[in-house]
Assembly symmetry: C2
Homo-oligomer: 341 residues x 2
DNA sequence: CTGAAAGCGCTAACAC
DNA sequence: GTGTTAGCGCTTTCAG
């Protein structure tokens, strides 16, 4: 019924006194260091249990100069993706990759300038040993500020072609290229693409892959076969309508997101086209497609689990041995074929 | 191209030296304390800027005994709700409520026992000044352990009728009661309910409200009109099918979740019932209903924004002035009528 | 209004 | 193996 007053936390020194040893020894025990006689270790542990001792992390940080925590920053854009599998799966895999360490994962929301500033002080203030950032806007300097402050920093995706901060990304160029090559092999020749917002590097890459594949196949790349979308349902509809208008003979579409692929699909069907017999549609990932279309479309799948794992690996590496330069890791996508195109 | 080595962070002392003042003065300036001559304040700020000084938060915590951060814990159950508006809206409102403070919000995942233990050490170690917990399982002792450790702790929802930790909850009893009263006013007499898992307090409350309303109206409460679900689509279908089987004359259903309400709706329609003319359906919240049904059903809406705001308020209050006892706040729900039942 | 000094609780280096 | 000691960088009295 009555809440206990914040009990004065016992200190390491009190533990040492009770156990009849020095502070150093207690420190060694709680940090699981080797070189402590088994009997004394036991005595210390008993004292710890008896006192209900919990190490003061601020003191540990101050003396040991590390926080044993990393932050995963979600910016405004991510926030709207909160429910997206792409997002939650990545977070999950990051958590999984950290599960066997003593590193606490902290998710932080950075939506406003005030939050951004607060986080910057938090991170530069040493409360975390490293920072993971998701889908940062091209013009966002936060990653640079963190990296410049000497904090190990890893991005999911790159902001541009000459990203200066360590990053992990799916091989979007390769993925798009492979998808289009698949279409070509299936006999398609009139292949259009609905891109993402072209001020985003990921969208540029996917478009580049599309173009490369066409070039590889000796097919022309007329700009009229490319329509820019913004990853949303609405933009996908608009783009597909536009494409049908320009090129009634289109026989395949590469969409830069699953949402736009689904939208394209429904526009095509409404227009009386049969998918995939008449027109083939390929999107990136298929979280939404899996729910909204029947049958599911062929997709370029990103290795989300591996992305999270790799981000953590790079971060931990940089934490224990500061790298002089940034690194970029590209992970291969996988083409999941669900139709006989 | 080359990452700068972690620059040795300047300390408060260096700032003091450069500004030609004592450390105490610098401390007062960075903490915006009154009682510093304007000219010296300016001098200090110049030195801070020149050196790029950032306070070491570990040292500040150690000396000042506070972390300026609070954690919002997501347990396994929440995680599956990651994409749920109920979840993301609550997190958002918590973030908003904290936006004008200097308190950093940290979202933490607690899925496994290892993560749970790690978080406990993190929190008890003083890295946060308070903890918010979402939808904790009835048997979960984490909140008690935190509260016992003297940490201000606020729950979203209660684990049982005699919750011993401060909590904020929607008035589920009142909400269900109001919904059923509305049905009764509309002339319904054969009112069934699909409950949530009855080992969850929230489900018990909603069932109680249903029963109270029937009693209020002088209607009998036969157990055969109550079927237990688990908030999911599948359980809603099963329950509705069962109800139709038992009571073909059912003319209204109160479902303890929007998902189950949507499921009930589709089962009813498949059975040839007209909704709401023939059978009225009311659910709690309507994030899913809004997408999946047409027309949307009448719903009992929870004040999510207010819930987050209130949780933060209580937490901050307890942080600045430790309460002796826990408190519970119940927030009124709102019945959103979308049909002429 | 401001400087000096005493810790906050821990780690790590160094003796024994 | 284990005790001792010197800080880590800041807040907070307490003088002045």
């Amino acid at each position: 019924m009555v809440k206990r007053r914040p009990v004065a936390t016992p200190t390491l020194e009190e533990v040492a006194a009770l156990a009849g040893v020095g502070r150093g020894t207690v420190s060694r025990v709680i940090n699981n260091e080797a070189g402590v006689k088994e009997s004394t270790r036991r005595a210390v542990q008993r004292a710890i249990a008896e006192l209900g001792y919990v190490p003061n992390l601020a003191a540990r940080s101050l003396a040991g100069r590390r926080a044993d925590a990393v932050a995963l920053v979600m910016t405004e854009r991510d926030w709207r993706l909160f429910g997206e599998p792409f997002f939650s799966e990545t977070v999950r895999s990051v958590g999984d990759a950290l599960t066997d360490t003593s590193v606490q994962l902290l998710l932080t929301l950075v939506r406003t300038d005030a939050e951004r500033q607060r986080f910057l002080e938090y991170a530069r203030g040493g409360r975390v040993d490293g920072v993971l950032l998701m889908s940062v806007r091209a013009e966002d300097r936060l990653p640079d500020m963190l990296a410049d402050a000497g904090l190990p920093t890893v991005l999911l995706g790159r902001r541009s072609g000459d990203e200066q901060v360590t990053s992990v990304d799916a091989d979007n160029v390769g993925g798009a290229r492979e998808a289009v090559a698949h279409l070509v092999r299936g006999g398609r020749r009139s292949i259009a693409t609905i891109t993402g917002p072209l001020d985003m590097y990921v969208a540029q890459c996917r478009l580049r892959g599309y173009r490369q594949a066409l070039a590889d196949a000796g097919l022309p790349t007329d700009p009229s076969w490319t329509v820019e979308g913004d990853f949303t349902e609405a933009s996908g509809r608009r783009a597909m309508t536009e494409l049908l208008d320009r090129h009634p003979d289109v026989d395949a579409v590469l969409a830069a997101s699953d949402t736009m692929a689904a939208a394209a699909l429904s526009v095509l069907r409404a227009a009386g086209r049969r998918v995939p017999d008449d027109v083939a549609v390929i999107g990136f990932d298929d979280f939404h497609l899996a729910q909204h279309t029947d049958p599911p479309l062929t997709t370029v799948r990103q290795p989300l689990e591996e992305i999270g794992r790799t981000m953590v690996r790079l971060l931990l590496e940089e934490m224990e041995q500061p790298e002089v330069a940034w690194r970029h890791v590209l992970l291969r996508t996988r083409l999941v074929v669900r139709e006989s195109a």
